[in-house]
Amino acid sequence: MSAASDVIIVGGGLMGSSAALFLRGHGLSVTLLETDLIGRQASGTNFGNVRRQGRPIHQLPLANRAIDIWRRSRELLGADVEYLQSGHIRVCYRERPELVGSMEEYADKARAEGLDLELLSGNALRDKFPFFGPDVLAGSYSATDGHANPRLAAPAFARAAERLGAVIHEHTQIVDAQKIGEDFVVSAADGRTFRAPTLLVTAGAWGNALSSQFGEPVPIVPRGPNMSVTEPVPYAILPAVGVMTPVEEETVYFRQVARGNIVLGGSTRGPSFPDQYRAYVEPQNTVSQLKHIRRLAPALGKLNIIRVWSGIEGYLPDSQPVMGPSATTSGLYYAFGFSGSGFQIGPGVGETMAEIIAKGATDIPIAPYTIGRFAKG
């Protein structure tokens, strides 16, 4: 006998957990299946940027939907996920003055989507953010972005979904999914099976294993974020800070949590191994990250890092996710491959996928994310 529900979700990250919560809001019964524990890989190990700025303009409606959820997360989840609307600033270096033009152009387009950005340079930038180094030329500041704690977020969504009646099975590794008649039958490694007329795949770096079973392979590449955290120091840096640059090694970012630790991220991403369920921080990447952090904010050079970590993220070649209905199989939906940029939009993805599944449509533009873009021929 298979356990039956209206919707099966495979993958208990932020996307799957928030989708489970919002599907319950639509009155659908939900079974969420997770190989390990909720939110332990990309969703739990990322930087924690709740940032709209810098996303593709076509993604801002989704990001705006997400920000509304983040703002009411405490009430919605009955838990504190350390969401702070404390701003986000993206800066460029002196040797790339052309990026100031890109920032202005982006700000104009973003404004039309409801995201107000303030361009700062010279004394105005340094008065407001005295920690920047001399190489920093200009910045684009978003007062309404911020950050949250990734370790807490997805589990809090999952617990809220569970309280509303979602059934969650952790330690449930899915090895097979098929559509038999009107139902999807999903099988776990230990022989348990689950049945539902609708299947949502939110399996991150493992998404391709399932989409391939339905004739829709995607060229997903597993990688891992390069994260570090410092000792606690007095809380003084409010916004999340990042660098705009075409050079991957220079792409570092940091944020200070209210307790005082400063989370560092970026520079080169590391390898990750979905089959072994492990991701490693390459020592060289840590060294490179620290070097570029020193350039961005020399005052941080005095601090120590006390821990590094990584996790398993799925990257697609155009850095855009697969999100929306299957192109081959009715009742099948995808939301995976967020390419290292899924945390802020996560709750918006969950709400949008729930809406598509429950109502058959959404006003949020998702055309750029169709899985059909990877179809051969």
Partner: protein
């Protein structure tokens, strides 16, 4: 009030380090921790509780004895030798970072 008690080896040349601006007499071969706790009761303030801290493991493992130089460098007091001219702070220099949003 001192925390540590010297039980011997006191026949060593003296040296002076400055702690929070005040001179502290130490002996050559003292770790910073011994120098500070032979004349004081603590090394630093806990970040997450009301209590003062004075180290714990003395072998570089617990990371409870970090102090600061006036230029902001961090020193692990149990594994750093006291040296003439050192100017040590027992509170974080970053406390003076301006808060900006």
């Amino acid at each position: 009030m001192s925390r540590f008690v010297r039980l011997g080896e006191t026949d060593r040349p003296g040296l002076t380090v400055h702690v929070d601006g005040a001179p502290v007499a130490a002996l050559e071969g003292d770790t910073l921790m011994v120098a500070l706790l032979s004349q004081g009761a603590a090394l630093r303030q806990s970040e997450f509780g009301p209590e003062k801290r004075a180290g714990f493991c003395l072998m570089g493992a617990c990371q409870d004895c970090w102090v600061w130089t006036e230029s902001g460098d961090r020193l692990r007091a149990c594994s750093t030798l006291a040296a003439p001219g050192q100017r040590i702070l027992t509170s974080q220099p970053e406390a003076t970072w301006p808060t900006h949003a």
